[in-house]
Symmetry: C2
Subunit: 456 residues, 2 copies
């Protein structure tokens, strides 16, 4: 039985979080003045009403964006109050100016928040000067074009408006969600509820990401064994949890979710997952070996995995989502390498698009992967998502008696699981992957009339 | 000045080689009886009239086809007389049956050749029993569907006909070329002529390959530092050269040519390059430090590089060919890894298709490559193929003053060079790459009505 349940809502489902999303014309560089003229919003703000602990995971791309650099530094200190994020500009490959701009965004949030005119009634504690925000406690995330300086006048106008609009309504959360979307066609959000020492606690999250998706995030910048979206994910919780425990829980959750998806195999310069925990649920603090930690971990893990899967489903041009399950590998590294080789092979991905149960291309990709593979040991089969009933197409390297029509039927749904057993050991890995379609190519051919570059 | 010149022709340009290409219905499994009913030919035969030395390079894919296994074993012995090759079936993932079939193909060639009825007049020596062919001296190459047993009755009928038709006419060479094509839209052939100790010698070659292209061949099955087509390439020469020298020359040539191309990053199960040297040019044998070896090496290198480039130009759905030139890397491994990350990034490849000089995606790919990259050191620019005049778009991580229209013009030709200087060391690497187009995806979606799998 699950120790949590899904509930409606997202980042304002937990107590004590305020949010907003505004249009300030970050992409078009200066025609707007912070007024929303029916354009997609492009600046989001999330604020905890009280001090919170923080954890984060970031891209391991050596070319990493200014906001990633700023966040990675600040998250180490374990405390934060707010996240400001924009779409339309990745603030990547922007040098010193970029770093200055990222820091100025955070400082401006802090400054404006302190002199804000509140439109809504919030608990008296919050208006206490103790709860004013310091720049160091503001984190920042960006996604969009690479190599273009942020239009800071617009950004400042946006922040001014965003602070004014902060509240805890579902509408504001939807606005914040919209503001971080780029090529996403759908909002991605989730919330769960669970009990910690008798108190009700919640975790809620939003994320974006559709192309340049194969995250390989770590807390330290040191690469995990497996690599490679711009994806941004912002998570809030009212659980009381120490920053070290929060980081441990997030790391475990990200390694099993965002770091296990791939749309196109391109790892972004801006991948960022941040979680703020403000303790307003009032639970007792817990240790890493406690059942409470297990409960929190399960809830956070579910939020990250569901959000990660939403990214794959909404991937650029994606028609089919395939969960590649490799078992029987000699080592975990082998399992991961085998799954990624299959998940990123253009020939395998185009066969998925075509609804073709092509095991030859899968064998070929396994063979050139760095994993140990013995041709005469490989099993390949299909099931429904998470299904136990597997239709085997290949057993120990030999085609089974499964009829071709049956195999075609197995790969025709929008989502299915691909099972690969290498039969060489006990290690396994799962990668959430997508097909490669003409729509992906068409979308990414780019808008050549436009002298800037899409990316991060 | 070049020590060789290109001449018309291909594998029968050197003295003493006979060839033919026939239709025996290998792909459709049994409707034909060796008669050519206007179908594309699918079985090629190349024979040296006299004993020859041989060298070969093969895929390093762990899942490698039966013909590759048979050839790799036989090439080690250094002597061969003939190559039989088919398209329509890769004879990969076919188990013991596959190995038996590959060996039977070679034995059948030997047997039929010995009792052939010659239609053309050839030197008396050849009819000498000394020049009968042993099965061990016949090599075999296959390309096409993976995981389907060869229709051996058709193959035998094809070999019977192919032996009868053997001659040294350009028309036969064209038939052999056609017989190894799969998704290729154009034949790929070249011949060069040069002098060795006063005698005129020639090297000629044919090759095929359009998808599943990123060869990483070695002679030993041990993977080279850089990996990853089905491509088949058969080269003939009338130079007299010892097998060890021939292998050394071929290895050097392949590492700088076929192993440096990528269409889709998928390394095939069947990649094979074979060269037969029959000595009929009558030159003196030469040592590895002789100028003759340099001359032979230059000629063979040119043949391999030109054939490799033809494969990229004729890649599935390819609109643009881009030579990625990485300089200033810390190590050769870094240079290679950086060039391959850029050359295989779906986002970079789609931007090439769109004619978009998108340096942000290039920076992103460099950043996630295993190579050492410092964002503020990278130069990115463009030139005409082989051109010295480079239009820099980025210098030391900063956009230059190059106008966007100029940059667009630089990436609009069918072929251009991309120059990347990492400015961290002295190592360099070149990768011959292609764009990613809707046509590639459309082609590889596959023919779902067809219960077999394309590949090797």
């Amino acid at each position: 039985m699950k120790s949590f349940k899904e509930i409606p809502g997202s980042i304002v489902a937990p107590q004590g979080f305020l949010t907003s999303g505004v249009f300030c014309d970050i992409k078009r560089l200066g025609t707007g003045k912070g007024s929303n003229k029916g354009q997609k919003r492009d600046l989001a703000l999330i604020v905890s009403e009280v001090p919170a602990t923080v954890a984060g995971m970031f891209t391991t791309n050596q070319v990493c964006a200014a906001p990633v650099k700023v966040c990675a530094e600040r998250v180490k200190k374990g405390a934060a109050r707010a996240i400001v994020a924009n779409s339309g500009n990745a603030n990547a490959c922007t040098g010193k100016q970029g770093l200055n701009d990222a820091r100025e965004m955070t400082a401006f949030v802090a400054a404006v928040y302190d002199r804000r005119k509140l439109k809504i009634k919030i608990p008296p504690a919050v208006t206490d000067r103790r709860y004013s925000i310091s720049a160091e406690h503001v984190l920042v995330g960006s996604t969009g074009r690479i190599g273009v300086a942020l239009p800071m006048a617009n950004v400042r106008a946006g922040i001014n408006e965003a602070v004014t609009l902060l509240d805890n309504s579902p509408a504001s959360a939807a606005h914040a969600m919209e503001a971080i979307m780029t090529s996403d066609t759908r909002p991605k959000q989730i919330a769960v509820e669970f009990k910690l020492s008798g108190k009700t606690a919640r975790v809620g999250g939003i994320c974006k990401g559709a192309g340049m998706i194969q995250p390989g995030m770590s807390a330290t910048g040191k690469r995990p064994a497996a690599l490679h979206a711009t994806m941004l994910c912002f998570i809030t919780t009212d659980a009381a949890i120490d920053p070290e425990m929060l980081q441990a829980a997030l790391q475990a959750a990200v390694v099993q979710s965002f770091n296990r998806i791939t749309v196109d195999g391109d790892m972004s310069t801006n991948d960022t997952v941040l979680v703020l925990a403000n303790g307003l649920a009032g639970n007792r603090k817990f240790g890493v070996r406690s059942s409470e930690f297990g409960i929190f971990q399960a809830a956070l893990g579910h939020v990250c995995l569901e959000l990660a899967k939403m990214i794959v489903r909404d991937g650029e041009g994606v028609h089919r989502v395939v969960t590649v399950r490799v078992n029987g590998a000699k080592t975990v590294q082998d399992a991961d390498a085998a799954a990624r080789a299959v998940a990123n092979s253009p020939l395998v991905k185009t066969s998925w698009h075509g609804g073709d149960p092509n095991w030859g291309r899968i064998m070929c990709a396994l063979g050139y992967s760095p994993a140990n593979v013995a041709e005469n040991q490989v099993d390949i089969g299909y099931s429904a998502p998470g299904g136990k009933q597997i239709l085997w197409s290949l057993k120990r390297g030999q085609p089974t008696k499964a009829r071709f029509k049956q195999l075609c039927a197995a790969v025709s749904p929008k989502e299915f699981d691909l099972h690969i057993n290498l039969n060489l050991g006990k290690a396994s890995a799962v990668i959430y992957a997508a097909d490669l379609t003409e729509a992906y190519v068409d979308f990414n051919k780019g808008d050549v009339g436009d002298p800037t570059t899409l990316g991060g």
